[in-house]
Symmetry: none
Subunit: 540 residues, 2 copies
């Protein structure tokens, strides 16, 4: 069976730029364009030439892409010709193979926001699209407020959309500008456009997530006949964001009836890099990746419920709708108070600890984990601390060193030049076998890095660990999370620490105490102990 | 026209607990149950009695709710009677008015995961539901993997669902356990169940967001005839989460055809607190609220595009599908235009600071807030710190006291009895007018309260503030939140402190630094200063 071609139009660099808090640099735009091209979208909308200096610079040295590079702008204003509208001119002069122009299709917006007649607006659409075509470019017309317009003045909305098609627009984009359309509205809108004479393979859908339906609205539009989907990576975009292409692409490629019916420009190899592509964007934007993101989130294949975890061990397909590696993601079975014994055995096996089914120590480990979680510990993400607890109960935790005492001081005072500075100082006294090691470390708030007591303690501990020194020299504290939680009836502080070694291995540990420094120190000690054990340190 | 009743079933405390990284304490569960009850959901599923100590404790002292309080469990196992299954007994013995039991409807899971015959499974369903009914409880049957089951063995999936209905289940819950169903699958599944003889007003829908369609799948199920929606606050839940009730509720109440067709238990007043309810949950979990969340996100009514922002000034309805205050949210038009300034004036008026329209100091305050937020400060919730910044730029911030220096020490060591103890000690030196005050405070980890450095600093500061002593004696530090965030290009620590006085007034302050103790101390100082100003302290 021949599959029909379905086109993907990415607007991460234009609508995605309108995300609150997102502010792409020129270099960001170039990196993202390259990633989009590698992914295999059909169109890359780069921005609005002339709207701001970054966009103008970006188009001036436009990236060479396999995808059709597209400039965004608006239809000409009334009372002048398309050739004499300087806003439109800047867009066309960017020289992109395709140009997408937004224009009004909702009668109220024509008369209220633009203050022109309905006829003038139709002329603006026709003349602008014809102008783009006359320059030998592919034209797209973005029907602003199409679905609201259809409700307000059905005949006019369709007339405006059709005018763009008749003037030569390759794509007429049905745009849910304020994000208020629900799936049944979108279905009806696409059907109305087709009935009005615009063929489905000239119809695109552009949705926003204001009701949480952007993805579904895109799918319903395709089912109703549209053949281009507009969206963004990770659902960036104005307000609640655009349709998330990272969610849509796997659905279109892996799930029925879409997989059999349509072909898109993304291949299986690119799909296997989808998680990486999504994380790359977060990385550029310095955003925390959404753990719950469909397909690519860190939790998307995490099986926390005990019932699920035990079935997953028998057959992953029991609780996974697709194989995680198809999208470059991974399965994870966390340890938590939801878990059963099979969940536990899987987790122990991950840590290289083989324990037979029915071993009574499994029950003891579960009980200990539950008790500790009741006291405020959390082992879902703190895998290294979990492993240490399990090793202790399995009798596989050699005692490598003891901390006899520590002391940490934070002082805020004037320095010699009369400036206020903050200094942290830490002392740690460690016993290894019969030997004692004492180390101090000091830091001031001049370098911009974490200058707090925990960092000072970490550095003091790392300064001299006697025979273990070579094992711990490359430990880097990369993240530190604090929350106040309940340990029994009291409020306690839980600290999660992520550590990394020079090979890029990451491990997480947890500490709990009524004292934040003490909680942090526990997590630090776990981080050091885990590294020593993993690298095969032996008791002195 | 009479509207049909549509029921909301909340599973935040059960399925939501299976979110990776979420670990409710007993107190968390109690607070969330109260918030859900105030919201107006019809059912609150509290957890699985017997599955873990927290859930058992929670059901032991079950909250009194207007909503039907529900326990979750699974159908009895084969080879024993319902009365003799101890797992089921723990669930039933929790004594809740309703019990929801999950069971298999997918033939493969019956034979593979349970290892029993299809007939045994039907008997388990029938006997378990009948047992719950015989105890005088309302029964719900959760059809695990219903949509996959329907595809694999249509007759058996429907037979299993119908068996529960025939045994007296008030609701048969069509569950998309692995989240793989798309809207057309859900529509077909609901119709199949109705055709098999289960009336729509006995059908519930339970979806997961693994393809980004959980909300749409819930809506499509209602359109197809189901009359109960299961979901969670903020879309918590296993893997990618459950259907987000916070997104669904406004759609059901405000958008057609749902608003005219259905009545739900949430009233307009509760809807106006929806944003607050959503943020409260994030607050309990110390999660960063999702800015892009439909309806309640901080960006949901943020108009960043220039075209949109100017039209919004003429008529908000041009780019908003609903009025933000209907859901307790606010419109936000970023910076340096008239709308930004009027927002600011409103905020200042809230703090009792009257500033005329057009006052150039408004622009200076906006710039300063933006600069500080770029450095990691957050003023959305830290209103008291915001007020202090504004007062400083308005020349209305008297200098009451200066901290010349402080020093805090945390030490872990053996006490005289050879036990390891942690001691925090703080010293603060304050200058008031020409006088200097020095105070120290010490604490040990014996009382279970926060014994950390911040508390020690707070107590030292409160010990002697000279002429201001009477103003600050009743300050109580009630909450303390820490987040690593970005200040420019560096990771910094942001501390939010909530303080309270003896009249129950609550105020929030923020501090930012590379040093957690320093960030905390800034927030503490703001808290003290704000209290002094509010109570009319005058410079010495």
């Amino acid at each position: 069976m021949t599959r029909e071609r379905l086109y993907l139009f990415d607007t991460t660099l234009r609508d995605g730029q309108q995300t609150q808090g997102v502010d792409f640099s020129l270099a960001d735009k170039q990196r993202i364009a390259a990633a989009l091209d590698a992914l295999g979208v059909d169109y890359i909308e780069g921005g609005w030439p002339g709207a701001n200096p970054t966009d103008s610079d970006f188009f001036r040295a436009a990236p060479k892409t396999r995808a059709t590079f597209t400039a965004f702008g608006m239809t000409k204003r009334a009372g002048r010709s398309a050739a004499n509208d300087e806003v439109l001119a800047e867009v066309v002069n960017a020289g992109t193979p395709a140009v997408c122009l937004v224009g009004k299709t909702h009668d109220y917006h024509v008369t209220k926001a633009l203050g022109i007649t309905l006829e003038e607006n139709l002329e603006n659409i026709t003349a602008s699209i014809a102008h783009v075509r006359a320059q030998g470019r592919e034209a797209l017309f973005d029907c602003e407020h199409f679905f609201d317009g259809l409700r307000a003045n059905r005949a006019y909305a369709l007339q405006a959309a059709k005018a763009a098609y008749d003037a030569g627009a390759r794509w007429v984009v049905l745009c849910d500008t304020n994000g208020g359309a629900l799936p049944h509205d979108v279905r009806a809108g696409v059907k109305a456009a087709i009935e009005a004479g615009i063929p489905g393979d000239h119809l695109a859908i552009h949705t926003h997530d204001d009701t949480g339906n952007a993805v579904a609205n895109s799918l319903v539009a395709v089912a109703a006949g549209a053949r281009q989907i507009q969206g963004t990576l990770n659902g960036l975009g104005e307000r609640c964001g655009n349709a998330n292409l990272v969610s849509l692409i796997p659905t279109l490629m892996l799930k029925e009836p879409f997989a059999s019916q349509f072909e898109i420009g993304v291949d299986e190899e690119a799909l296997r890099h989808l998680t990486q592509t999504s994380r790359m964007l977060d990385d550029i934007l310095n955003r925390v990746p959404n753990a719950a993101a469909p397909y690519v989130g860190a939790s998307a294949f995490t099986h926390k419920a005990g019932l699920h975890a035990s079935a997953i061990l028998k057959d992953p397909a029991t609780y996974e709708h697709i194989a995680p590696d198809a999208v470059g993601n991974k399965r994870f079975v966390p340890m938590s108070n939801q878990a059963g014994q099979s969940n536990l055995r899987e987790r122990l096996a991950d840590a290289g600890l083989k324990v037979e089914k029915g071993d009574p120590r499994l029950g003891r480990i579960l009980d200990e984990i539950k008790t500790l979680e009741d006291r405020g510990y959390a082992y879902d993400s703190a895998s290294a601390s979990f492993e240490l607890v399990a090793r202790r109960l399995l009798g596989q935790l050699p005692r490598l060193f003891d901390v006899e005492r520590y002391k940490v001081t934070v002082e805020r005072r004037q320095n010699a030049r009369g400036e206020m500075i903050t200094v942290s100082e830490a002392m740690v006294k460690v016993k290894i076998g019969t030997e004692t090691f004492m180390s101090v470390s000091e830091s001031m708030d001049t370098e911009g890095n974490d200058q707090g007591p925990v960092n000072a303690l970490s550095r003091a501990l790392a300064k001299d660990l006697g025979p273990y020194q070579s094992f711990i020299e490359d430990i880097d504290l990369v993240d530190f999370k604090v929350r106040i939680t309940n340990g029994g009836t009291e409020a306690v502080t839980r600290v999660l620490i992520d550590s990394q070694d020079r090979d890029g291995n990451l491990w997480s540990t947890v500490g709990v105490s009524a004292n934040i420094v003490d909680a942090s120190f526990q997590a630090l000690l776990d981080a050091f102990n885990w590294k020593l054990l993993r690298d095969g340190a032996q008791p002195a």
